[in-house]
């Protein structure tokens, strides 16, 4: 019970500090160049590190197969996202395809 709140306040406080960081320190502190360069890769690296296991790992096992509905729907969603660049279309399309593949693959 207390652990829930500990997590919420720690994660919330640190997230807020991240958001405030450069806004508050502007003009007073210059971040090192390597740090600013590395920051650019944070969103693609972190988000991909979350996405791929969601598609490829099922019940603790790598499930690289044409019979994996999450993998098929995920790959389709990647193509939809690339073409449409639309968040809503990608989510709705991906979910519909997941249901379709789950239905077809039993």
């Amino acid at each position: 019970m207390t652990e829930f709140w500990l997590i919420i306040f720690m994660a919330g406080g640190l997230t807020y500090m991240i958001r405030l960081s450069f806004i508050a320190l502007h003009g007073r502190w210059q971040a090192p160049v390597w740090f600013v360069r590395a920051l650019r890769f944070v969103p693609p690296a972190v988000l991909s590190a979350i996405i791929l296991p969601e598609l490829l790992v099922a019940d603790g096992q790598v499930f690289l197969s044409p019979f994996n509905p999450r993998l098929l729907a995920g790959v389709a969603a990647i193509l939809i996202a690339w073409r449409s660049r639309n968040v809503f279309v990608t989510i709705a399309g991906g979910m519909l395809l997941l249901y379709l593949f789950q239905f077809l693959l039993g």
Partner: protein, 248 residues
């Protein structure tokens, strides 16, 4: 008698008019910020609902699940927190993972900082609080187009406010519906889909693609590490690969 009091009487209404003008402009900017953010709420509302549902399923008390939306106020990391808690990860791992997921906000902070430098500390504090993906995207576009003319911080505040209200309301709805949504609906898959929708269109340059692929493959290869530590390892590998590719 000097003429000054007369001039004073003339000047007062003019100043008053100016202040009212300014207020109207700020209100217009606030409403415009809300208006420009409305289309994005279509994506946020279901996301917030699903978060609420998953938080209850992971064992969070309703009050804590709602409080997290107000205190952390970052959808993707809230999903990760709920996911890790459900899987029994110890709290330091959960907090560290949330920080890694939200580190991208430092990028938003850095890119907005020059536009906000003239504002008082209280404004900076409030705007940092509402600096989520959607508000940033709408806000930075406005700043890049209009510069500092016409109180753009009210626009950014309006955008953040719209996201905030939508996020709290949809979380509450998800918590309320929590128990009624069956697991067979695979709603957790929306997490991967949302991230695909965010990251894929952004991979227009080779180093970014290299970074994403390296991180993804590392995460799958390291999936068996305890407490999803593979995620942190993969993020570091992806950042390193991106920097390396950038130098080529």
């Amino acid at each position: 008698m000097s003429a000054w009091p007369v001039l004073g009487y003339l000047a007062v209404p003019a100043i008053k008019l100016q202040i009212e003008d300014c207020r109207a402009l700020k209100r217009t900017q606030l409403l415009k910020g809300i208006q420009y953010t409305l289309p994005l709420l279509i994506g946020i509302a279901p996301f917030g609902m699903i978060y609420g549902v998953l938080a209850i399923k992971a064992g969070f008390p309703a009050g804590a699940a709602q409080a997290m939306s107000a205190i952390v106020f970052a959808g993707s990391s809230q999903f990760m927190i709920v996911n890790l808690v459900a899987g029994g990860s110890p709290w330091p791992v959960v907090v560290l993972t949330a920080v890694v997921v939200n580190l991208r906000h430092a990028l938003y902070s850095a890119s907005l900082a020059p536009y906000l430098k003239h504002l008082p500390a209280s404004w900076k504090a409030v705007l940092a609080y509402v600096l989520v993906d959607e508000a940033y995207a709408v806000g930075i576009h406005h700043y890049e187009k209009n510069g500092l003319a016409g109180h753009p911080h009210w626009f950014l505040l309006g955008s953040g406010l719209a996201v905030w209200i939508c996020w709290q309301a949809s979380t509450a709805l998800g918590i309320f519906l929590g128990a009624q949504i069956p697991a067979g609906w695979s709603l957790d898959f929306t997490l991967a889909l949302t991230f695909i929708a965010i990251v894929v269109p952004a991979l227009r340059e080779r180093p970014l693609l290299v970074s994403a692929v390296t991180a993804g493959v590392t995460a799958v290869a390291a999936h068996a590490l305890p407490y999803k530590l593979g995620l942190i390892l993969a993020a570091l590998a992806g950042i390193a690969a991106g920097l390396w590719s950038d130098r080529q």
